[in-house]
Symmetry: C2
Subunit: 151 residues, 2 copies
């Protein structure tokens, strides 16, 4: 697939990024390494808590979204960097066995005033579970290369 | 250490969360699993690029901050959940061998209007490298339990 550039996308465009399942083992491994709170690492204690069972770290959920974003979008795009995220909302728990589907909506495409070789995308990312419930939304900012004159 | 509650903290308070080093192997492992772009996974290709070498995924950087936040703060606090993050800014690259130090500043402490058992903290998180450069800032929101009447 040919590389796609800033000019190849338009505000309002919606890109389905595919889906993946998350396992109990993955939730525990991520929790142990990066977010060792019992509701991410200890199924028994989590079951006895208000959570009613193990839930994925919010940071694991963002990382899973990122993987879907790379595989479903960035790998074919002249992506340069991200200066950050304008907002993350963790709306519902992600649990072992959930199948997560990601969607990206392009909100704004802003050519750089100072660098003719790039532009900024403001985006809305959404992650749904297998029941179609929105579990997370986020607003990533992306620096994207413009199409070279010779391309 | 006794559990600390919403009432035990005050706006303006600054909490140093400790530090940790990040290795090349960790950067590559995280990149391969969650953010397989070459500048996170391929040292040679990264060295030949504008990045001038391998850099950590921004999501790896947030996860490392979270680990420092759990070890340096949340493990002793009646932390209930986080509804989200108001902003993340990735300001400078994180590279193999960097030692990252985290700091948390409590910006606002808002008692819940609907639930006498909890309140919301709005916070500023900052992550610095070994040269004292700010590599990331973020604005987490935390739901924190209030001190039980009998405690």
């Amino acid at each position: 697939m040919a590389l796609r550039y800033f000019e190849d996308f338009h505000p309002g465009e919606v890109i389905e990024l595919g889906s993946r399942e998350v396992t109990e083992a993955e939730i525990i491994a991520f929790g142990r390494e990066f977010d060792p709170q019992y509701f991410h690492t200890d199924p028994k204690a989590a079951a006895a808590s208000v959570w009613g069972g193990l839930v994925a770290s919010g940071w694991h959920t963002t990382a899973l979204f990122m993987r879907l974003l790379v595989d479903g979008f960035l790998k074919d795009v002249a992506s340069l960097a991200s200066p950050g995220i304008d907002e993350i909302r963790w709306l519902r728990p992600v649990r072992p066995g959930d199948r997560l589907s990601a969607r990206l909506t392009l909100l704004e495409a802003i050519p750089s005033q100072s660098n003719a070789e790039r532009g900024t995308f403001k985006q809305l990312g959404e992650l749904f579970n297998q029941r179609g419930e929105l579990v997370m939304s986020l607003r990533p900012i992306a620096l994207i290369g413009r199409r070279p004159a010779r391309a």
